[in-house]
Symmetry: C2
Subunit: 137 residues, 2 copies
DNA sequence: GGAAGCACTTGCATTTTACAAGTGAATTTA
DNA sequence: TAAATTCACTTGTAAAATGCAAGTGCTTCC
């Protein structure tokens, strides 16, 4: 995978050049909240990503330093993907997005108690999730 | 502009269906931080959006309820765009993205003092920016 | 009244995405 | 141990989105 081209060094533009598309953050979400780790697991998500786009995004995110991968020790044809520290540092971004969507999507699938916790004790939610994800590094 | 199709009610997916592309958040950024308000001003941003995409995104963001527009009272052929409350509520998301990019882009254009303020007093930065933007509603 | 400004639209080439099918290595099954 | 299946992709092709250059139709300035 070729390097990501950054249009400018504006921080918003820099971020969008990495995850400003319809799929990348869904892969990150699956790793953060669903304990998914393999190509086949990501493929099963209900948004129905197509196989070539998933392969492309996994390679791109690895190239961008958000994912790392290693061969499964039990199954040589399976790769285990995991979040890097750079991706784990997106936890606050993800939490704020969840909070925003839960406010404006009246049919949101976000669990009510989770949203309530974000609203009463956001920093703790962020700290706990971050600590959990870092503990698996 | 036709309604936005949401793939699922997952909060991440919901948000990406609205602003998960390379341009929408740059328009929001220009409204939030650069005091830009018109088509011509957005067009001048250094990322060089093309004219048809800008027109498409302005219509889409208005349809999604993030922007409102009115005719300029002084110039009938000019439209003034402004952020709605729904877009202003993205301030925390934007601030977290800026913080993340400033961490990982070693050549970030984000002003050092602004990043420092985000890191020492994030909530105040968010509150002040939000209050300022809401004061112009 | 003509020129210029402004906010778009149009046409077309290029790139990206979606969908279906195929591939080859590793693993499981008979 | 040979055959079938799983797994992680790749390939081909059609459809959609994007980029670029040019054009359009108001409005305002001179």
């Amino acid at each position: 995978m070729n390097e990501i081209k950054h249009r400018t060094h504006c921080p918003i533009s820099y971020a969008l050049d990495i995850f400003g598309d319809k799929w990348s953050l869904l892969i990150i979400r699956d790793l953060m909240f669903q304990n998914k780790k393999t190509y086949g697991e990501f493929l099963k998500s209900e948004e129905r990503i197509s196989t070539n786009i998933l392969a492309d995004r996994l390679a791109m995110l690895e190239c961008a330093g958000l994912l790392s991968s290693k061969q499964d020790t039990e199954n040589k044809s399976r790769k285990i993907y995991s979040l890097t520290a750079k991706a784990i540092d997106l936890v606050p971004v993800i939490i704020e997005i969840i909070n925003w969507s839960a406010t404006y999507d009246f049919e949101t699938a976000a669990p009510k108690e989770f949203i309530a916790r974000i609203r009463t004790d956001k920093q703790t939610v962020i700290n706990e999730l971050t600590a959990y994800l870092k503990s698996t590094l």
